[in-house]
C-alpha cells in the first residue's frame, strides 16, 4: 500500500510517545518483531490484529510489564527507557485491562488512591475526608456521578471500568491504553464510554484502543495500526480504508466476512422442549423448542437470563419448576447426566469454566468422552492421543502437538478445544454461550462453519450471543429474553437487529 507512508504522517508535529523497532521474544515465539508505533497527543489510536498478533505484548511493553528485547522509546522526542511499570507510570501511561485490577471490598475512593492515600494527622492513618473529596473531584473530571464511598463489589462492569479510568486520570495519565473496553458493556454503557473518550481526547489525553469490533474502529479511531504475527503490517486512517481491507490486513488472506450457513427448508424432529421452566437464578416461565438441524438464537441484553437458561438446561443450576424434555424424555439432574444424554455446553468463560488450562490439549479434548472412548474403564494415553490428533486435524486447531498445555493456545484455538471435547463425546445438542467472544475474525468464521456442519449432520444448536449480527446471519430463528423471561420469538424472516433490540429493551 503506497499511501501507507503518507497516512502515518502525524496530525500534529511531534508524537507524544514513540516506539521504534520493538522486539520481544518468548521461547519459541516472536511476540513482537521490529514494531514501530507512535501516539500523538489527543488522538484515539486503534490497535488491530487477530489474537496472537502481538497486541497484548505491545500493550505490556508499553506499560512496562514486559521488557522489550530490542527497540527504543521516545517521549516528546527525548529518548527514555520503560523497564518497569513505575517507569511507564512516570511517563503518564496507564492501562485499563479487560480484567480489572480493583480491590472488590474497598470503596471507590480507596481504590482510586490505593497506595497513594492522603495521610491523616496521626501517623499511619488516612485522611478520610480528603480522600473522598479528591475522589469526588476526579470522578467529576470524567463526568461519573456516584458516591465515592460505594463499595466496588456492588458496581456493575461499566461502573468498575469508570473507576479504573478515574484511577488512571488521578495518576495524571496522558496515554490511556484500553483493551477491548466495550467487550462486556451494553449498548447504552458503550455510548457513555464513547462520550467519555471524546471528553478525554478534548483534554489532550491520547488513547490506545484495542478492539475486535469493526464498527468501533471506524466510529472512534483517528488512526489505525494493524499487527499480524508480531509485525506491524500498516498504519492507516479510517477514511482511507474499508472494513474488508482492514480484515485482509489482519489475516493476510481473504476471509469470507459473510457467515457460512446452509439453511435447510424443513426442520428435523423435536430434540429439546422446555415447558414453563423457572429457576431461582432469576428465570421464569421459559418455553423453548429446538429441532434437529436448527441453530436457534437466544438473545437479549447481558443479564437478561440467557446464560441462566443454558445452565438450567445443562443441569448446572437447580430448576424450581417446569419441564425439560430431551429427545422426548424428561430430564433432571446434574451436568454429568445431561452430558451423557447428549447435551453439550460451551460456556461463556472458556478459561475458567471450559478448560483445565494447565492440562494438555489432549487431556482437555477427551475429558467428556472418557466413558465413550474407554468403555472398559481402562484409560489408554495412546488412544486418547489418537482421538485428539484426529480432532486437532478436523478442527484445524493450531497447536504444536496434542501434548501442548492448552492455556498456551490462542483464544480461538482454545474455543475449538472446548467444542472438540463435545464432538468426541458425540453430543446432539450444542449450547453455545457467546461462542465468539474474544476470538479473531478468521477463527470466528471457522467456528460458524463448524456449527453449520454439525447441524447439517443432524445435531442442533442453541446459541447465545450479544453480537446481533451473528444471530441474524446464522440462526434459523431466535428467542429474545428480557428480565428473565422470553419476551418474544423471531422467525427467520423477522430476524433483524432492530427486532432483537426492540424486544430486548427495557420498557421503563
Amino acid at each position: 500500500m503506497s499511501t501507507a507512508a503518507l497516512a502515518i504522517e502525524p496530525t500534529s508535529p511531534a508524537p507524544l510517545l514513540e516506539l521504534r523497532g520493538i522486539s520481544k521474544e518468548f521461547p519459541g515465539v516472536k511476540a513482537l518483531d521490529d514494531v514501530s508505533f507512535a501516539v500523538f497527543p489527543g488522538e484515539v489510536h486503534m490497535l488491530l490484529g487477530e489474537n496472537g498478533a502481538g497486541k497484548s505484548s505491545l500493550m505490556k511493553v508499553l506499560c512496562g510489564a514486559y521488557r522489550a528485547d530490542a527497540g527504543e522509546f521516545y517521549y516528546k522526542g527525548e529518548p527514555v527507557a520503560i523497564n518497569s511499570t513505575a517507569d511507564a507510570q512516570k511517563l503518564g501511561i496507564a492501562v485499563i485491562f479487560q480484567e480489572f485490577s480493583l480491590v472488590p471490598h474497598l470503596d471507590i475512593a480507596q481504590n482510586i488512591f490505593l497506595g497513594r492515600e492522603p495521610r491523616g494527622r496521626i501517623p499511619g492513618t488516612i485522611d478520610r475526608r480528603k480522600i473522598l473529596a479528591d475522589a469526588r473531584h476526579v470522578l467529576g473530571m470524567i463526568g461519573f456521578e456516584i458516591n465515592p464511598s460505594t463499595i466496588v463489589d456492588k458496581l456493575g462492569v461499566a461502573q468498575q471500568q469508570m473507576v479504573e479510568i478515574a484511577k488512571a486520570i488521578s495518576q495524571n495519565a496522558r496515554i490511556l491504553v484500553m483493551d477491548e473496553p466495550t467487550a462486556a458493556l451494553s449498548d447504552r454503557e458503550t455510548e457513555l464510554l464513547f462520550a467519555l473518550i471524546a471528553r478525554l481526547k478534548a483534554d489532550g489525553v491520547s488513547i490506545v484502543y484495542i478492539s475486535h469490533r469493526m464498527a468501533e474502529v471506524f466510529a472512534l479511531g483517528d488512526r489505525i495500526t494493524v499487527l499480524r504475527d508480531g509485525r506491524r503490517i500498516d498504519g492507516v486512517r479510517p477514511a482511507d480504508v474499508t472494513p474488508d481491507q482492514l480484515v485482509r490486513m489482519m489475516v493476510g488472506r481473504n476471509v469470507n466476512m459473510t457467515y457460512p450457513r446452509n439453511f435447510s427448508d424443513k426442520p428435523g424432529e423435536l430434540l429439546l422442549e422446555i415447558k414453563g421452566l423457572s429457576a431461582s437464578t432469576g428465570i421464569s416461565d421459559i418455553n423453548i423448542e429446538v429441532r434437529r438441524g436448527e441453530i436457534v438464537g437466544l438473545c437479549g441484553l447481558v443479564g437478561s437470563g440467557r446464560s441462566e437458561v443454558a445452565r438450567a438446561i445443562f443441569g448446572a443450576d437447580p430448576v424450581s419448576s417446569g419441564e425439560i424434555l430431551f429427545d422426548g424424555k424428561a430430564m433432571s439432574g446434574e451436568p454429568d447426566l445431561a452430558a451423557r444424554r447428549g447435551i453439550a455446553l460451551i460456556p461463556e468463560s472458556r478459561k475458567s469454566e471450559g478448560l483445565a488450562l494447565l492440562r494438555s490439549v489432549s487431556d482437555n479434548l477427551v475429558v467428556s468422552a472418557l466413558r465413550k472412548l474407554f468403555p472398559s474403564g481402562l484409560f489408554d494415553q495412546r488412544g486418547a492421543q489418537r482421538t485428539s490428533d484426529g480432532l486437532i486435524r478436523q478442527l484445524r486447531i493450531a497447536t504444536p502437538s496434542a501434548r501442548q498445555t492448552v492455556g498456551l493456545l490462542s483464544g480461538g484455538n482454545q474455543q475449538k478445544v472446548v467444542i472438540g471435547k463435545w464432538l468426541a463425546a458425540g453430543s446432539k445438542l450444542f449450547i453455545f454461550d457467546e461462542p465468539t467472544r474474544g476470538i479473531d475474525i478468521g477463527a470466528k468464521s471457522e467456528i460458524f462453519a463448524l456449527i453449520d456442519r454439525l447441524v447439517a449432520e443432524g445435531a442442533a444448536a442453541l446459541m447465545i450471543s450479544s453480537e446481533q449480527v451473528e444471530i441474524c446471519h446464522v440462526c434459523d430463528r431466535a428467542y429474545v429474553m428480557r428480565e428473565g423471561r422470553i419476551a418474544g420469538h423471531l422467525t427467520r424472516s423477522e430476524l433483524t437487529e432492530e427486532n432483537i433490540v426492540r424486544l430486548g429493551m427495557h420498557h421503563a
Binding site: 445443562f314 448446572a316 446434574e334 451436568p335 454429568d336 445431561a338 452430558a339 451423557r340 455446553l345 460456556p347 475458567s352 469454566e353 471450559g354 478448560l355 483445565a356 488450562l357 494447565l358 492440562r359 487431556d363 477427551v366 475429558v367 467428556s368 472418557l370 466413558r371 474407554f374 474403564g377 481402562l378 484409560f379 489408554d380 494415553q381 492421543q385 490428533d389 486435524r393 504444536p400 502437538s401 501434548r403 498445555t405 498456551l408 471435547k421 463425546a425
Partner: protein, 325 residues
C-alpha cells in the same frame, strides 16, 4: 496420499511428560541420599537396615497414597492419623472379642472407609472446605478414640495376625509386598483408569470438570473413601506390628504423610502429581531419618530436617515447572 503427508507434518511425540521428569529427579535425589549414607555409615547398606527402611517407608506410604488422591483433587485429608488410631482400636477390640483376625481386618478397613466417606459427604454435600472438614473430623475421631479406650491399652494379638506387620516371606518383610501391591494398584488407578483421569481433571479445574460432564461429587466421595480405607489398612499393619493399640498412636502420622505427598511432587493446588512420586517421597523421608539415626544425630533434629526437605522439594518443583512453561 494425503493421510501420509499429514502424518509427516504431525509433531513428534515428546519423550517424557512433565510428571515423569519430576519423578526422575526424585529417584535421583533418593539415590544420592543412599550414596551419601553408604559412604558415611558402614551399617547403611546392610540388608537388615535396607529392609527396615523399606518397611518404615511402607507405613508412611499406605497413608500417603490415599492422601495423594485427595490432594490431586486440590483437597486435603487431615484426619488420616486420627482415623488410623480409631480404626486400630476398633479392629483390635474385634480381634480380642471374636478371636478372628479376618473379622478384625475387615472392621478396620470398614471403619477407615466410613470415616473417609463421612469426610467426602462433608466436602461434597455440605460444601465444607476439605481442610476444615477433615480438621474437625480429626478432633471428633480423637475424641471418640479417647472415650472408647478410656486410657486402656489393647495388647497381645494372635501370632498369625502379627505376621502381617512383622513377618517375612522369601526374606522380605510382608509390608514390603503390600507396599508393592498398593503402589501398583494406586499407579494403575491414577494413570490408567478413566476415574483417575477424572480425578486429575477435577483437581485442575473443578468448575470446568463439572461442566464437562464429570460427576464431581461422586468422584470426590470415592477419593475420600479411598483415603479413609488406606488409613484403615495402615491401622491393621500398625496393630499387627506394634502388637498393641492405644488412643494416641495416630498423632505422629498425619504430618509425615502430608510431607511424603509434598516431597513426592503432588501439588496442593491439585491436578499435578503421581502415586509413584509419593512412594519416592516416603522413601526420601525415611532414608533421611534412618541416616540421622545411623549417624547418631539427635532425634530432636528430625522435624527441622523434614521441614527443610518439604520446603526445598516444593520450591524446586515450582522452579522447574515454571521453566517448563
Amino acid at each position: 496420499m494425503t493421510d501420509i503427508s499429514k502424518d509427516a507434518i504431525a509433531p513428534p511425540r515428546s519423550f517424557l511428560s512433565q510428571d515423569a521428569i519430576q519423578v526422575f529427579y526424585r529417584l535421583l535425589a533418593a539415590l544420592l541420599i543412599c550414596a551419601v549414607l553408604a559412604v558415611l555409615s558402614d551399617s547403611f547398606l546392610s540388608l537388615g537396615n535396607i529392609l527396615n527402611v523399606l518397611r518404615q517407608a511402607s507405613l508412611t506410604f499406605f497413608i500417603a497414597s490415599g492422601l495423594t488422591l485427595v490432594v490431586l483433587t486440590a483437597g486435603l485429608d487431615l484426619s488420616v492419623g486420627a482415623n488410623v488410631a480409631l480404626s486400630a482400636c476398633i479392629a483390635g477390640t474385634v480381634i480380642h472379642k471374636t478371636g478372628s483376625p479376618a473379622l478384625g481386618i475387615l472392621t478396620g478397613l470398614a471403619c477407615g472407609g466410613i470415616v473417609g466417606l463421612l469426610n467426602g459427604v462433608m466436602v461434597t454435600a455440605l460444601r465444607i472446605p476439605s481442610f476444615i472438614a477433615t480438621y474437625g473430623m480429626l478432633w471428633v475421631l480423637n475424641g471418640l478414640t479417647y472415650w472408647y479406650m478410656a486410657g486402656e491399652t489393647l495388647h497381645g494379638f494372635p501370632a498369625g495376625f502379627r505376621q502381617i506387620g512383622s513377618g517375612y516371606l522369601f526374606g522380605l518383610p510382608i509390608p514390603v509386598y503390600l507396599l508393592l501391591v498398593f503402589l501398583g494398584i494406586g499407579t494403575l488407578f491414577a494413570q490408567r483408569t478413566i476415574w483417575g483421569q477424572e480425578i486429575y481433571a477435577i483437581g485442575a479445574n473443578p468448575v470446568a470438570a463439572r461442566l464437562s460432564g464429570i460427576p464431581v461429587a461422586r468422584r470426590l466421595l470415592l477419593v475420600y473413601a479411598v483415603s479413609g480405607t488406606m488409613a484403615g489398612l495402615a491401622s491393621i499393619i500398625f496393630l499387627s506390628r506394634l502388637n498393641s493399640a492405644e488412643a494416641d498412636i495416630g498423632e505422629s502420622l498425619t504430618l509425615p504423610a502430608i510431607a511424603a505427598v509434598l516431597i513426592g511432587g503432588t501439588s496442593l493446588f491439585g491436578g499435578v502429581g503421581t502415586v509413584f512420586g509419593t512412594f519416592i517421597g516416603a522413601l526420601i523421608l525415611t532414608l533421611v531419618l534412618n541416616g540421622m539415626n545411623l549417624l547418631s544425630v539427635s532425634a530432636n533434629w528430625q522435624p527441622l530436617v523434614t521441614g527443610i526437605i518439604v520446603i526445598l522439594a516444593v520450591w524446586l518443583d515450582m522452579k522447574t515447572r515454571r521453566r517448563a512453561q
